[in-house]
């Protein structure tokens, strides 16, 4: 109830507790000791230690003593903090405070613009403009009161700041949020170096994909190591110099998503670096993977805003996953805490930073302990940045960085009163020093006549005025000025009494006007406390009950995900028509036993006591479909920044949550070869996956399969559709030379490495050397006969084989040459005329190539068609009269052969993987539906279960829509409903209608 030190501590500008000695003073020296004693406070020294009625003494910006029963020096300025709480101020571990984050120029990155092939940064720096380890945030740090005060209002006293731009962002500094001068604010000038997958403002073409970003980082680690040998050929490279010297400090990797955290950690593992990972708000969806990174994390609290789904048309396109994420994102921190993953909390990148503390409290309501929250705001970030000896707790010798609060800091109505930084006081909610809440007796004197009222003022300054009627109003307090207006009685047309006065201790007095406009004087005297109603509990109860109803985490985190992953089973399929793809051909009324993930037995009247029996009567069983050419389940497909990008790997950027995995299971696909696109001549390394719905990115990979790489020839790589191509090659003549040059370089590279093991390792050439050594194989996008021919000749020249030609719509013209070379062909059944180079495409292509003796596959290159590859095979019977058995092999056994996995998959043969499909009809017929798709003996698609899941999705979505609408009724802020767009990446040979919420993204150009 006391106004303390009003006026005295009013301005902080006069308090320069410690000056910079080297700086000249324009005027008269004014140095003060800054000796303060904060008494009677509840001091929370750190997340574990609390001092009741404690004393905190600071001097020259540092803590000189803290404890109970301390003697207060007579010369100290005493701040009585009775009833108040003192916490170490918070530390934001990843901001860009005081360093202007570079922004992209208007229009952003332009795919269609002419390429920029090397960095345009002046100076002896790295070739790639997105790699800027030479930047030091401290060099450009400038205090910024506007931003600092916003941070301080959230309780922060220090932040780590860095230049948020590029793949390697250089070093960041730890600075305090004192804004006296730049020099003193810096408490650690190079605290950590920062990396990301985002190329930022770099105008260079490369990298243009996530996998390209990963490749750049990997190559830079190698280059930097090599640079330590002081190679003459490199000259001075300040970027690599800086990279090397930055390695000794903490390494922070900034991501925004759970899978990117995993990807970052993988790079770290490869180069012996343990990153501190800035994670997204969805780590809770894959907490096991987060644990496995062994990283400590930096997490945000920028939870999704509830979407306004009142219009069912809008609600329809908001996915269940997005709705669930809205519900579960506030549990993210609790999930990390429960999994014992150390983490700090950042307020950076928030849509509305004012919500920071409210959202931390929300995280606490969702299961995060208060001590963990405090630790994540103080000690953990300080430790991550190596500054716990200076900040992060209230201990002697540390900077005097602390906040004074009205209540325990995470209590619902807690307010930060002041935020002290390096001994400087910064006001946050100064009026909260003393609450004026309480009961008062108000006396209004009009011409000597007194009228009395009883007033009750609550904490939120709402007031009840009890006279003839009980009237509610609000008290306004500004510093020590108090104002109160209220009507004389309830109802319309009542006259207003207006009062204004000054607070002095326990009483108020001043002048006013009554309802008739006559002047009055008035006074009010404190008579006692208001009986407090604990609002906190009311607030918590609905949240608690809601939490019990929260959605379940599924794998993957989409509508059709499973709460529990399906298990491998022993399955006996009885009495089916079995398309073996072996010399036995199609077997009627046959049983197939799947056991231990393998095809165990094929025959009649089989039995196995442990097996689940599936009646196959009237049904057909085939090997799982293998799609030789697919672009699903990846975050990026094309790295078109250069003509040779053999260093990029699709496997680095798999997306195991792509709904198209599940959809393709519903069409009988069990394995897919995920190819790099056709943006350049030598594209990236491909990834063969099995469609294990719910697995993580690593588990999706087809273990033990030979590695492949994508090449491309023709229109796409010469960028036919671009009006201003400046990337070599622009003709097929140039494409051939890109191939010759690449392999010439690879041959020389191999020699160099042999001669000098310390030579620069080149990830691009290493992949090509693998091809030369028959350890990596090519799938080559190609169309017209001359390019197919010269590719064969390049292979002949360098002694390797073009393993597979894909698309290959003129393969029929040179099938004999391909046969002689030993290539497989993977084509479309009936595509034509979608570009110049397919004017001679014919539907009889596959049949001719097959009759010439090639191993022919039919592939999709299309997320929709992949669900009907059996029908595409059926068309090869229609166009050219291939037998039905041979046609089915074109989507099963033949791609298995082309991919060198025919010993594991592709036919129904004892000992092979239990990857099979049960069809309702002849699998080549349009009338065939998949009943079950089994991978490794695990049923990943089951038509009956699918129908149940569909119902469950509807029910769950209905529940969440009701919850969102409830949120709207309670007046919570609502966001515009944003359709959950599905991104379909295509390799470039594709045109499609936009099906509303589907974006077909051709990353070709």
């Amino acid at each position: 109830m006391k106004r303390i030190l009003t006026g005295l501590l009013f301005l902080c500008a006069g308090i320069v507790s410690h000056a910079q000695e080297s700086f000249p003073i324009n005027g008269v020296r004014d140095i003060r000791s800054g000796l303060y004693a904060f008494t009677n406070a509840t001091i929370i020294q750190n997340e574990n230690t609390k001092i009741e009625k404690g004393v905190l003494i600071i001097k020259m910006g540092k803590i000189v003593a803290v404890g109970a029963n301390l003697t207060v020096p007579a010369e100290a300025i005493v701040v009585d903090c009775a009833g108040k709480f003192i916490y170490p101020s918070f530390i934001d571990p990843l901001s860009d405070y005081g360093v202007a984050t570079p922004r992209r120029t208007m229009g952003g990155f332009n795919f269609g613009a002419p390429g920029q092939f090397i960095s345009n940064k002046p100076g002896p720096y790295n070739w790639n403009q997105a790699v800027k380890p030479e930047l030091n945030a401290v060099d450009v740090f400038t205090k910024d009161e506007t931003t600092a005060s916003a941070y301080r209002a959230n309780g922060f006293g220090a932040v780590f700041t860095h230049l948020k731009d590029g793949l390697a962002r250089g070093t960041g500094a730890v600075v305090t949020l004192a804004t006296e001068n730049n020099n003193q604010a810096v408490i650690k000038s190079k605290a950590a170096s920062v990396y990301s997958f985002d190329k930022g403002t770099s105008t260079q073409s490369y990298p243009s994909s996530l996998m390209g970003s990963i490749a750049v980082l990997r190559q830079t680690y190698l280059d930097a190591k090599w640079y330590q040998t002081k190679p003459v050929t490199e000259g001075v490279n300040l970027s690599l110099d800086a990279w090397n010297s930055n390695q000794s400090m903490p390494q922070i990797f900034s991501t925004d998503d759970k899978w990117n955290a995993v990807r970052a950690d993988r790079i770290g593992d490869e180069f012996g670096v343990q990153y501190i990972i800035r994670g997204g708000d969805n780590g809770y969806q894959r907490i096991d993977e987060m644990v496995k990174t062994k990283a400590s994390f930096i997490l945000g609290v920028d939870f999704p805003v509830a979407m306004d789904v009142e219009d069912p048309n809008d609600a329809r396109f908001v996915s269940l996953a997005d709705m669930k994420h809205w519900e579960l994102a506030p549990t993210n921190l609790a999930a990390f805490s429960k999994a014992n993953i150390p983490f700090s909390i950042t307020s950076s990148d928030m849509k509305d930073a004012k919500q920071f503390l409210a959202n931390v409290k929300k995280a606490i309501q969702n299961g995060l302990s208060e001590s963990k929250a405090l630790e994540a705001l103080t000690k953990t970030p300080a430790n991550q940045l190596g500054v716990y000896d200076q900040v992060g707790s209230i201990e002697t010798g540390k900077w005097a960085n602390f906040i004074i609060t009205t209540e325990p800091v995470f209590a619902t109505n807690a307010k930060i009163i002041e935020n002290w930084v390096q001994g400087n006081k910064y006001e946050v909610n100064e009026s909260e020093w003393s609450s004026i809440a309480g009961k008062y007796k108000l006396t209004i004197n009009k011409n000597g006549t007194n009228t009395d009222y009883n007033i009750e003022v609550k904490k939120d300054l709402s007031a009840s005025i009890i006279g003839t009627d009980t009237i509610t109003s609000k008290v306004t307090v500004s510093e020590s000025v108090v104002k109160l207006n209220f009507p004389t009685k309830k109802g319309r047309g009542a006259d207003q009494i207006r009062l204004s006065g000054i607070i002095s201790g326990n009483s108020w007095s001043g002048v006013g006007t009554d309802g008739s406009g006559s002047k009055t004087t008035w006074s009010a005297t404190y008579t006692g406390a208001v009986t407090a109603v604990e609002a906190k509990n009311e607030f918590r109860r609905p949240m608690d009950s809601a939490r019990n109803n929260n959605s379940k985490i599924t794998f993957p985190f989409v509508g059709y995900g499973n709460e529990v992953l399906p298990k491998q089973e022993t399955i006996l399929i009885k009495n089916a028509t079995v398309w073996t793809n072996e010399k036995e051909g199609v077997l009627q009324n046959t049983d197939v036993l799947l056991k231990g993930g393998k095809i165990s037995k094929i025959g009649k009247n089989l039995s196995d006591a442990s097996a689940k029996i599936v009646d196959g009567t009237g049904k057909h069983l085939s090997a799982g479909i293998i799609d030789e050419h697919s672009h699903i389940a990846a975050m990026s497909i094309n790295e078109g920044g250069q003509s040779v990008t053999s260093e990029v790997r699709i496997g680095d950027n798999l997306n195991p949550e792509d709904i198209n995995i599940y959809r393709q299971l519903s069409g009988g696909v069990t394995s897919s070869h995920i190819l790099h696109g056709s943006a350049n001549t030598i594209g990236g390394q491909t990834q063969l996956i099995k469609l294990r719905w719910g697995a993580n990115d690593e588990e999706l990979k087809f273990a033990g399969a030979d590695p492949f790489i994508k090449f491309a020839l023709g229109e796409n790589v010469k960028r036919t559709t671009s009006q201003n191509n400046n990337r070599y090659p622009d003709t097929r003549m140039g494409v051939e030379e890109v191939l010759n040059d690449a392999f010439d370089r690879a041959v020389d590279y191999q020699k160099t490495l042999k001669a000098n093991p310390l030579a620069r390792r080149d990830l691009e050439l290493e992949a090509l050397v693998e091809i030369l050594n028959k350890k990596r194989f090519i799938t080559c996008h190609s169309y017209v006969q001359p390019e197919i021919t010269y590719a064969l000749r390049v292979g002949d020249k360098y002694g390797f084989k073009f393993n597979t030609f894909t698309h290959i719509l003129e393969g029929y013209k040179v099938a004999d040459k391909m046969k002689k070379h030993g290539s497989s062909a993977s084509t479309f059944s009936d595509w034509f005329m979608y570009k110049t180079e397919v004017q001679d495409a014919i539907a009889y292509n596959a049949a001719i190539m097959q009759k010439v003796g090639l191993n022919v596959c039919i592939n999709s290159d299309d997320a929709e068609m992949a669900r009907r590859l059996n029908q595409e095979a059926g068309k090869i019977v229609k166009y050219g009269g291939v037998s039905e058995e041979e046609a089915l092999k074109m989507v099963t056994l033949n791609p298995a052969k082309a991919l060198h996995v025919a010993d594991k998959v592709g036919s129904i043969k004892t000992g092979k993987d239990a990857d099979v499909v049960l069809w309702t009809d002849n699998p080549l017929s349009i009338y065939a539906k998949v009943e079950k798709t089994i991978v490794d003996g695990i049923v990943y698609f089951d038509r009956t279960k699918d129908a149940e899941m569909s119902k469950k999705i509807t029910a769950e979505k209905t529940r969440l829509i009701q919850k969102l609408l409830g949120e709207k009724r309670t007046g919570m802020p609502m966001g515009r409903p944003m359709p959950s767009f599905q991104i379909l990446l295509t390799c470039g040979d594709h045109e499609h209608e936009d099906h509303m919420a589907t974006i077909y993204e051709n990353q070709n150009n």
Binding site: F109, L210, A321, N660, K813, K851, V852, I926, Y927
Partner: protein, 440 residues
């Protein structure tokens, strides 16, 4: 021509005679002479009925009789269809055929999309190229008629129906100015920039999608309001091609084809029809299953552009687009199926219908959706769409079920009674390379 292998022979002869020649030697056929009778056929009439061992008689391009046990007119050329299936010629209900030859990278071969917001006056028929290399490939899969429409930003222009055996566009015209096309603006909020890795790097987005869409709809309404007034003027101080173009719409001689996939787009299309008294056809209809009963109630037909499509939302049933036709059928909506797969140039329309059978239509309903229903929607059911006396003899004969790739194998086709060649560039190249490799 009485030999039951006549058709096969004809095809084979044609192929060998033209061996190694360009498709330029595939000639349009002269008008039908005399009488032709297809006998012993399983006739899928197109209206739901199937006749077995039936005879179809046609002369001067028109079907004169269909039934069992019909006497063969004297001198009739008999096509024995024993064991085969006979269907009405298939109709592409919405297409850029003849306007758009090579999709990507060859701007000069494309004439389907005009610039500007209002192109009500343009006519697709005038750039329809009868020598397109695509046409003959489609004929070989049973497509004999196509509805050719222009595309554009908002008010797209006027469409026509063509028959696929012609020397030039005037010959090809089957029904001129069938419809006017408009493209309904989207009501969906768009996130700025690209997806995936490049998200946020491209700028854009923002703005209120509802307001932007309604602004465009206002443009459409204003146009029709002014066109209605203009068409009532006795004399024009200033003649106006764009306003004049709507006259047939107001006279009820033309339908308004509205490209619309979203529910709101379709509801506004229905409202447009009511406001101006137009006959509306929804083209696209991705979300039509959501409002099937409203469409049925308002008698709004739908051209479903793609059955072989991915579901619109990741939470949708994985086979939703496959089921949509059956859902419309059940609700009583008049619909036609299309095939907008640009990479196979619409040759798979019968398989889109086949998939609809797998997911709930009967085979004859599916057939109607690519024949008679399309004819009704295009206003040409008096001329074609089913094998019935009085209609044009637009007929195809297949070895098996045309809805299934296992049966779809055309042996002969007739447009207006003319036996057309089923040869095309793809077959010719097939023959050329069979010859090279000595494949039988």
């Amino acid at each position: 021509m009485k030999n039951k292998y006549a058709t096969l022979l004809l095809l084979t002869l044609a192929v060998f005679a033209n061996n190694a020649k360009a498709q330029e030697t595939v000639y349009p056929t002269d008008a039908q002479k005399g009488t032709t009778a297809i006998t012993h056929a399983t006739v899928h009439v197109g209206n739901g009925n199937v006749l077995t061992d039936a005879t179809i008689i046609f002369e001067k391009g028109k079907i004169t009789a269909v039934g069992s046990g019909l006497a063969l007119p004297k001198g009739a050329a008999e096509v024995d269809a024993s064991g085969k299936h006979v269907y009405p010629g298939l109709i592409l209900p919405n297409s850029s055929l003849g306007l758009r030859e090579i999709n990507a990278g060859v701007r000069g071969s494309n004439d389907f999309q005009e610039i500007g917001e209002n192109n009500a006056d343009i006519r697709s028929i005038v750039s329809y190229n009868t020598d397109s290399k695509v046409i003959n490939v489609l004929r070989a899969n049973g497509i004999l008629l196509a509805h050719v429409s222009p595309m554009g930003e908002l008010i797209e222009g006027r469409s026509s129906v063509v028959q696929l055996d012609a020397w030039n566009y005037e010959d090809a015209e089957y029904k001129a100015n069938t419809g006017m096309y408009i493209s309904m603006p989207s009501f969906m909020a768009r996130r700025g920039g690209r997806g995936g890795f490049m998200r946020g790097m491209m700028g854009g987005g923002g703005g209120d999608p509802l307001k932007a869409a309604f602004d465009k709809i206002e443009t459409i309404k204003t146009y029709f309001t002014e066109a209605r007034a203009y068409c009532q003027e006795k004399e024009h101080a200033n003649s106006n091609l764009k306003l004049e173009a709507a006259r047939s719409l107001f006279e009820g001689k033309q339908k308004l084809f509205v490209r619309a996939n979203e529910v709101k787009q379709m509801l506004i299309a229905i409202d447009l029809g009511k406001t101006f008294g137009f006959n509306i056809v929804i083209v696209g209809g991705g979300e039509s299953f959501q409002i099937a009963s409203i469409l049925a109630e308002n008698k709004i037909p739908v051209i479903l552009d793609e059955t072989h499509a991915l579901p619109a939302s990741e939470d949708d049933d994985v086979d939703q687009p496959y089921k949509t036709p059956a859902q419309l059928q059940k609700a009583g909506v008049l619909f036609a199926l299309n095939d907008m797969g640009e990479n196979s140039k619409q040759r798979n329309i019968s398989f889109n219908a086949g998939t609809a059978v797998t997911y709930g239509l009967t085979k004859e309903e599916a057939l109607s959706s690519i024949t008679l229903n399309a004819a009704k929607i295009l206003g040409i059911d008096n001329l074609t769409g089913s094998i019935e006396a009085g209609k044009d003899a637009n007929i195809i004969i297949s070895l098996g079920d045309i809805l299934d790739m296992r049966g779809n194998q055309l042996t002969q086709a007739f447009i207006q009674g003319r036996a057309i060649s089923l040869d095309n560039k793809q077959l010719q190249l097939y023959e050329r390379y069979k010859h090279k490799y000595g494949i039988k």
